[in-house]
Symmetry: C2
């Protein structure tokens, strides 16, 4: 069930060290923890900042292309829910998150939560007591997209991770989380 | 499936604030995160300290008494695996963990890992790709036990949380984690 390219347990530490060395930076304790945890990042943000909220940037159904089909291990053309959100505290953006969800693998109840609720995918999974395994796939730093530049009002590099949740041994959510490198330094 | 006394999502933050107020202390960011995450605490310790190790204090089978049977939702007298460990870095104790595991609910493979491997229960669950939900039950500060005084060489109060992992909608592991209040302040 481990997919090629998956970062396994001991490699998370090495991957974080590698990112630090490649970019000649020191990540903070909070940044490191936010990269390595398996649960929803919003739980941490809630605890650190008081309750945080979600702003939905985009949500729509689309047919998966080759890249997305490969990430989710579905057939090309299978329908996915595309979900792009910003977690914010009183309007101050904290974390950008993009998720792909294969619609055939989730229940109507989850789909309702995805559409209606102001909750991140991780929280929706937890709230519905869906049993999962969670695997961190990638940790890296990248240039911001134009959307991110506009949202975060900065050209700074983005600290990014990609992770996957499995249920019934199938991928149910692929997520990418990003935030400017200067965030969560304390 | 939510049990009485369970701390649900939004209450984790309130519970942490309550502990701070009751004891007139400020918990650090790392402490707060360690209290609220659902994944294995060792993943965080690995990332913060480099690879950490386990020292097994005690492991044995016993018949559950009324209290343990209630925690695990099993019948009194059902067999459990009692597992008491210290997570340490080069001999310096970091976290004390006590787990109760209802043996009838886990596979032979997991039992083998519990007995032989130098891994925390959380890591064993992740390593074997067991799909779970995880619920934080309690967060509190308590006096150290004589064992903890000896291990940590301090009379300091212990920051403690109790949490549960569910698989197939049944409790598979109950865990209590503790460490001296002065730990993980940075």
């Amino acid at each position: 069930m481990i997919q090629e390219g998956t970062i396994i347990e001991n490699e998370i530490r090495e991957k974080i060290t590698q990112v630090e060395q490649e970019h000649n930076i020191k990540l903070s304790t909070t940044q490191k923890i936010m990269l390595c945890i398996r649960g929803p990042i919003t739980t941490i943000l809630d605890v650190l900042y008081g309750e945080v909220n979600l702003f939905m940037l985009d949500q729509h159904f689309e047919k998966s292309d080759e890249r997305i089909a490969d990430l989710l291990k579905i057939s090309e053309g299978d329908q996915i829910d595309y979900r792009e959100v910003i977690v914010h505290k009183n309007g101050r953006p904290l974390v950008y998150a993009l998720s792909y969800i294969p619609t055939s693998r989730i229940t109507d109840k989850i789909m309702k939560d995805l559409k209606e609720e102001r909750l991140t995918t991780g929280k929706i999974i937890d709230k519905n007591y869906i049993e999962t395994t969670r695997v961190i796939k990638k940790i890296y730093i990248e240039k911001p997209t134009p959307t991110q530049v506009e949202l975060f009002k900065t050209q700074e590099d983005m600290l990014t991770r990609e992770y996957i949740m499995f249920h019934d041994k199938k991928v149910v959510i692929w997520t990418k989380e990003s935030y400017p490198l200067s965030y969560f330094k304390v």
